[in-house]
């Protein structure tokens, strides 16, 4: 079994759930004996004129810093191809245009302030002038790749709408079946103000696909009800979490107070407001607790103002955007992790928190709630319930201990290997079906 996968670069290059999920999934597939040719956009910039390059799998592993025992046999199963492109997950067409304009005006290529509160982007003029153009250009290159690799894969798998055209192009060139993977829908990203172009690409991709994988039942329902995709074509494939061989050492704690953490993009979708309101309620009752909001996003300034107005800024801290080790460090420093997302197709970060022995509170409106028993679940809008849960987890050690030990056990059983096995049977089924067509 051989898969041509249009995925996303692994952390630490690009943070976010998408890269993390692609990484775990690919490894899981390799362990299940599936060969994966993994194609990702990678911005090489102006100096290099090649569109495609093949990257050594062990180099990729080395960057991720996780070459572990017995890994060699998996590496044989995975090969990497970089397509020169500056697409990054989560970028919106509007953002893309503003970065491009700035590039044309000033020639500025890398957005990296000296400021650690902000993230970074790379840009180059050889890429499309707007995101849609870039998506189309990416598809053309993808078609060429598919042609070059003719006979070397049995199924095509595309992650997130930005690569759907690439997947469709590869399918047309090769005649192989296509799987598209919905990690998030446009409704999750933008609420009701959907970008119609993005919505159209998502719909086209799913219609052209032989199978749609959704990261949760929540997402599956949206795909069926709001995109009109036939239910029998849509399967739920929950994400899992990968355990690093060795846990890095816990950082020394600077403060004695309990720490309750929010970690994620500070955007409407993630519900940062509810976290703040609940924090203010808890602080009225308990003095020795601190709240940390880690991340950056378009609602950050709004949240800072709200925290100031509530008069809790001495107990509510902002770290700015965190990467790599700092994310891990933040989990290890936390006593409770909260993900109050308004809409979360899956949400991998609570699993990472649980892996660090941290009890978690998640919103019922998140896909991850479907796979977890040992997590406190509240409606995102129910600030009182959220405050209650926070209070209980910091005040009653027995409860916190139960959640962290049982939670660790639970999350340990969410293995990419099992997920990949399920994916493999789906691949087998659609390959069979397409042969019979």
């Amino acid at each position: 079994m051989r898969v041509l996968m249009f995925g996303w670069e692994f952390p630490p290059h690009i943070a976010g759930g998408l890269g993390t999920a692609c990484y775990g999934m690919t490894r899981g597939l390799a362990r299940n004996g599936v060969d994966v040719t993994f194609i990702v956009p990678h911005a090489y910039g102006d100096e290099d004129q090649r569109f495609i390059r093949v990257v050594n799998a062990s180099d990729v592993e080395a960057v991720y810093g996780a070459t572990e025992s017995g890994a060699d046999d998996i590496l044989d199963k995975i090969s990497f191809i970089h397509i020169d492109s500056n697409m990054v997950p989560y970028i919106s067409p509007e953002e893309y245009v503003s970065y491009h304009d700035e590039y044309v005006k000033s020639g500025k290529r890398v957005w990296e302030t000296t400021d650690c509160w902000k993230q970074r982007y790379t840009f180059s003029g050889k890429y499309g002038a707007n995101l849609m153009e870039e998506v189309a250009r990416y598809a053309v290159v993808a078609a060429q790749v598919a042609k070059d690799l003719e006979g070397q894969f049995d199924v095509i798998h595309a992650h997130d709408w930005l690569t759907y055209y690439a997947g469709i192009a590869a399918k047309r060139v090769s005649g192989k079946p296509l799987v598209v993977h919905m990690h998030a829908t446009e409704y999750d990203r933008s609420g009701e103000n959907v970008n119609t172009q993005v919505h159209a690409i998502e719909k086209t991709g799913m219609q052209a696909a032989d199978c749609v994988m959704a990261v949760s039942n929540l997402t599956r329902n949206i795909v069926i009800n709001r995109y009109g995709i036939p239910a029998e074509k849509v399967v739920t494939v929950h994400n899992a979490v990968r355990f690093a061989e060795k846990q890095s050492e816990a950082p020394e704690r600077g403060v004695d107070d309990k720490i309750i953490t929010f970690l994620g993009r500070i955007t409407y979708q993630k519900g940062p407001d509810y976290f703040v309101e609940a924090a203010a309620k808890v602080l009225k009752r308990v003095p020795n607790v601190r709240f940390v909001m880690a991340g950056s996003g378009d609602m950050m300034n709004h949240v800072i103002r709200r925290v100031a107005r509530l008069g809790i800024a001495d107990r509510f801290h902002f770290t700015g955007f965190l990467r790599g080790d700092d994310v891990h460090k933040m989990f290890q420093l936390s006593d409770v992790y909260v993900m109050p997302s308004v809409s979360e197709p899956f949400g991998i970060s609570p699993l990472e928190a649980m892996r660090s022995n941290v009890p978690v509170i998640i919103s019922k409106q998140s896909g991850v709630a479907e796979v977890l028993d040992y997590a406190v679940k509240v409606d995102y809008w129910d600030v009182d319930a959220l405050a209650d849960a926070m209070y209980a987890l910091i005040k009653y050690p027995a409860l916190a201990n139960m959640f962290s030990s049982k939670g660790l056990e639970e999350v340990t059983n969410l293995k990419w290997n099992n997920v990949a096995a399920k994916m493999k049977t789906i691949y087998e089924r659609i390959i069979e079906e397409s042969k019979n067509k």
């Binding site: 302030t113 400021d115 650690c116 509160w117 950082p251 020394e252 704690r253 600077g254 403060v255 004695d256 601190r290 940390v292 950050m300 300034n301 800072i304 103002r305 925290v307 100031a308 107005r309 008069g311 800024a313 001495d314 107990r315 801290h317 902002f318 770290t319 700015g320 700092d326 460090k329 420093l333």
Partner: protein, 408 residues
């Protein structure tokens, strides 16, 4: 005979370093040593040293006829000692001429006058002691941070024994009245007020090098003709400005030093005289009582205090830092007082301003942060760590006390 009263403000804040959540509880060095040193040494080279030398020459040249006043914050003096001791020496030389008056203010250039009377008084006493020790003068005139003034603040200053105080000649307070007279505080009428002539002051401080200004270039002759003119009526013209105007905001290449070199002789030749703040206030009788029920300052178009306390970020930081007051007082520790003092410096609050519209240029010029929000986060992180340390120290103190009473 008209009197010209020159007063220069000298201040540098202790800038905080980038202090992250991960530093909390572990790292108690809050200052950005590198940029504090670099800025102090640059300003010393471009402004303090050449300008002090220039003023010293002028004083000698005019044999006492040229006089001026200074206010140096305690924080600035601390930085002289740490990074540019020759600047402090040159100020001492100026003090020794007897032609330079040093004013009192809050030690750390703080907003204490808006927070509490007690803190305010303590900080003024601290500053007065510093001036006495360094320059051998006991200040009799007072200048509040950013010329913040109200009837009540004036009365509070009078209670501390000062005879004269500076304030802004703000249009909304003066109405038709001229700033070029001595006024009296509305509550304690013995307290005399000198009001800044903002037009003539800003001609030097802001407009001097502006080539788009219809009066550009400004010469000493032209400027003195304005001071002298009949449409500048009054008895005392108060030219108050930041000392960093000379060589820093207006670089040496603009000719600002040549202008200042020529100014005293031109003023004296036209029949006017110079006086320090206290001398000017003593020489004239107050012409009227000045009513100023709400706090005003010399900043921005509005001349109010919204540059420091104008949004929720600033209000929160302000109430939290002054919320520590009782704990700090209980500790009676020099180290903690030191931090508490520099945390109160008004500049920290200025960095958190979000009113960028009309006066954004001036704000961003002085601001080491990318945004008001960054400034706020950083300040609160530092303060949180400081509070943890304060609490620890208090606990240790209480434990020691319990132990000693047990023994007894």
């Amino acid at each position: 005979m008209k009197t010209v009263c020159l007063y220069f403000q000298v201040h540098q804040p202790w800038r905080l370093k980038k202090y992250r959540f991960f530093n909390m509880g572990k790292d108690h060095n809050y200052l950005d040593d590198l940029s504090n040193r670099a800025i102090m040494q640059k300003v010393a080279r471009q402004c303090y040293l050449p300008m002090n030398a220039l003023l010293l020459n002028l004083i000698k040249e005019h044999k006492g006829a040229f006089r001026c006043s200074f206010s140096l914050t305690g924080i600035a003096v601390e930085q002289f000692k740490a990074y540019a001791p020759e600047v402090l020496d040159s100020f001492k030389e100026l003090a020794a001429t007897g032609c330079v008056e040093f004013l009192a203010e809050t030690y750390s250039h703080s907003l204490a006058s808006l927070a509490s009377k007690e803190d305010f008084k303590e900080q003024v006493k601290l500053h007065t002691a510093m001036i006495k020790k360094e320059f051998g003068q006991k200040p009799t005139a007072f200048r509040n941070t950013e010329l913040i003034y109200s009837d009540e603040i004036g009365a509070m200053v009078a209670e501390l024994g000062f005879k004269t105080m500076l304030a802004e000649g703000a249009r909304h307070i003066l109405g038709w009245k001229s700033p070029n007279y001595v006024y009296a505080n509305a509550i304690d009428q013995k307290m005399r007020l000198l009001l800044r002539n903002y037009k003539l002051s800003d001609d030097i401080a802001f407009r001097f090098s502006n080539q788009g200004w219809d009066q550009y270039p400004l010469t000493a002759d032209k400027y003195v003709s304005w001071l002298h003119a009949e449409d500048t009526p009054g008895e005392v013209i108060n030219l108050f400005m930041d000392y960093e105007t000379f060589g820093e905001h207006q670089g040496a290449e603009t000719g600002i030093f040549d202008f200042m070199k020529a100014l005293p002789a031109t003023v004296l030749a036209s029949g006017m005289e110079f006086a320090t703040v206290s001398e000017a206030a003593k020489k004239y009788q107050p012409v009227a009582v000045l009513h100023c029920p709400h706090a005003m300052s010399w900043a921005d178009e509005e001349r109010d205090v919204t540059a420091w306390l104008g949004n929720e970020l600033q209000n929160e930081a302000f109430s939290k830092i002054y919320g520590l007051k009782e704990k700090i007082a209980k500790l009676k520790s020099e180290d903690f007082n030191y931090v508490w003092n520099f945390m109160q410096t008004s500049d920290h609050f200025y960095y958190m301003a979000t009113k960028w519209l009309s006066d954004g240029d001036v704000h961003s010029y002085f601001n080491p942060y990318d945004s008001a929000y960054d400034a706020f986060i950083n300040y609160m992180n530092v303060m949180s760590d400081f509070e943890i340390e304060v609490d620890k120290a208090l606990e240790a103190k209480a434990a020691a006390k319990r132990k000693s009473t047990k023994k007894a």
